[in-house]
Amino acid sequence: MTPRASADRAAGPGPGSGHGSGALSAFLRKEARHLLRDRRTLAILLLMPLVQVLLFGFVVRTEVGRIRLAVVEPAPDVATRALRHRLAAAGRFDVVAVLRSDRALPRLFASGRAQQAVVFPAGFADRLAGGEPAPVLIVTDATDPNTGSVMRAHATTVVRRYEQELRARRPATGDPPGRSPGGAAVLAETRMRFNPTLASAHLFVPGLVAFVLTIVSALMASVSLTREKETGTMEVLLVSPLRPWQIVVGKVLPYLALGFANVLTVLLAARVVFGVPVRGSVALLLAECLLFIATSLALGVLIATRTSSQRVALTASLMGLMMPTLMLSGFIFPLESLPAPLRALSAVVPARWFLLVVRGIMLKGVGIGHLWDETLVLAGMTALLLGVSARRLDVRLPGGR
């Protein structure tokens, strides 16, 4: 019927000769090549975590500049004036207000005109002279916990030094009998406003690990998958004997390796540059990091199955993942300070659970025994996400015409 019907040739490789493992490893090699040849992107991905650590480390924990100080002296006397002058002379404080009562303090703090206040009781000098404990209250704005603790330390130091001076002078003037020499003179009492427990101070490394892994893993996985859709190679892959799970695994594994390299970078830099220790098991920490990379990659794959352009995938990853990772994980804002609805929402943010794990291991030194809940939540999320995306890929490409 056709001019060239020489139909008797058998098909080349008979059906059934398709090798899953050879195909997968070839696919992995291809992915590794994509990754290694795009030098600029690779450099960014490898160096970004380092830059982040240094940025967070140096900028966030930077030295506090001049502190705006309010002084409350209900009844100014020799001692309050002496201490106030010492504060002013310490070179760190700008005395912005000297008040008779502490009633105006909340307004000063709220407006930010004062960052710190030193509150004297009435009769301060008399108490000191009488050898009674003389309490001084130091109130500090702890909106930024790091800055807050630094400011508190500065004010406390000045008060302590004054106290030491007093003690040093007292033996010369002679102690009244029955009083222990150098007994409690000035009681510096401190109070932190807005964030009393200083939660998340010095805790940037765990949050940073979560943040970097989310970007690298989810974003890169979703972009690299949608790139294949955009260029049309995805169609060819889906027509080929490769199974959807092989495509997903092939796409995801190189980024698992890259994410792991990032974990090591962040931990090493934090250790070497800032002396942040890992108190618990390093092996457990790395294992948990791998789990979290898998979760993030699964999220990236899910995003990729729902979009067809790299730009949409990029935006979705940035807005949909990075913001919650920053805001709802406890990285920047302590979970305890979130309004209840947001706190409830944070339960679906993987970084929230991962952060508990990393903080537990790095800062508290706890073992897996205390981390089962979080670990299982992450594992469950990963399985669920992978299951959903594999199904979506399997249902084939969205039907165009």
């Binding site: 060239r4 019907a5 020489s6 098909a11 059906p15 291809k30 049309g232 892959l237």
Partner: protein, 246 residues
């Protein structure tokens, strides 16, 4: 008599209320060059997706290389090659790496891949370009390479979805020589195109209009039956909606 390479039986695909492919039935013989024509939106791509296992039929069915596309998708996949209208190779990989990847994906061994790569480069006159990144090749060369890669595992049927889009006439000519070569070797070629001169190169063509096959036969038969001078005229008459349509 060998069974048809492609057989569609009342193959149908609906998207909601819209019927993209409406009960089409046809056979393609082994070694045949079958042109699958139709205006944009006529349902060609949807039909092709069902035949290549990318989309499940709503009703009816099809067998490709003797395997049911719905029930034996894996065997179908191993028996076919595919080249999409969009460029289907990886531009940041070299010619050799692209060939190696697809060879492995289709289960070829290292030795076979090396042999076929050598033959392929020789036939295309690419021998000096094995280590070149595909992105650096001119478009026409890329398309010829993509076709050769789709044929690498010697599939029973190769599906070409508008393979010559944007290619200059000389390269198109060479491209069709590759197609004939494959067909002479026994591979069935299932090709969609918008170029009517290419339609004339096919053994038989079908023309889809609104999800149905409006005409099917050799180019000579069709021009005679519809009393037109060329495939081009026939296509315009059939594909244009309104009273002119058959």
């Amino acid at each position: 008599m060998t069974p048809p390479a492609v057989e569609a039986r009342a193959l149908t695909r609906r998207f909601g209320a819209f019927t993209a492919v409406d009960a089409i039935t046809f056979d393609v013989a082994p070694g045949e060059v079958f042109g699958f024509l139709g205006a944009n939106g006529a349902g060609k791509t949807t039909a092709m997706r069902m035949l290549t296992g990318l989309l499940a039929p709503t009703s009816g069915g099809a067998r490709v290389a003797g395997f049911d596309v719905a029930r034996a998708a894996d065997q179908v996949k191993r028996s076919i090659g595919y080249m999409s209208q969009r460029f289907s190779l990886y531009e940041d990989l070299t010619v050799r790496e692209n060939v190696g990847l697809y060879g492995r994906v289709y289960g070829l061994r290292g030795r076979e891949i090396a042999d076929r790569l050598a033959r392929l480069l020789d036939r295309l006159g690419f021998a000096h370009l094995a280590g070149e990144r595909v992105g650096r090749l001119p478009l026409g060369w890329k398309q010829k390479l993509a076709l050769s890669v789709a044929l690498l595992h010697e599939p029973r049927v190769v599906f070409l979805d508008e393979p010559t889009g944007g290619v200059d006439p000389v390269t198109r000519r060479q491209f069709w020589e590759l197609i004939y070569e494959a067909a002479a070797g026994g591979t069935t070629v299932f090709v969609t195109t918008h170029y009517m001169d290419e339609a004339e190169y096919c053994d038989r063509v079908s023309i889809m209009v609104d999800g149905r096959i409006a005409a099917l036969g050799t180019p000579a038969e069709l021009t005679a039956r519809f009393d037109v001078a060329s495939m081009d005229e026939l296509f315009v008459r059939l594909a244009r909606p309104g009273p002119g349509a058959a």
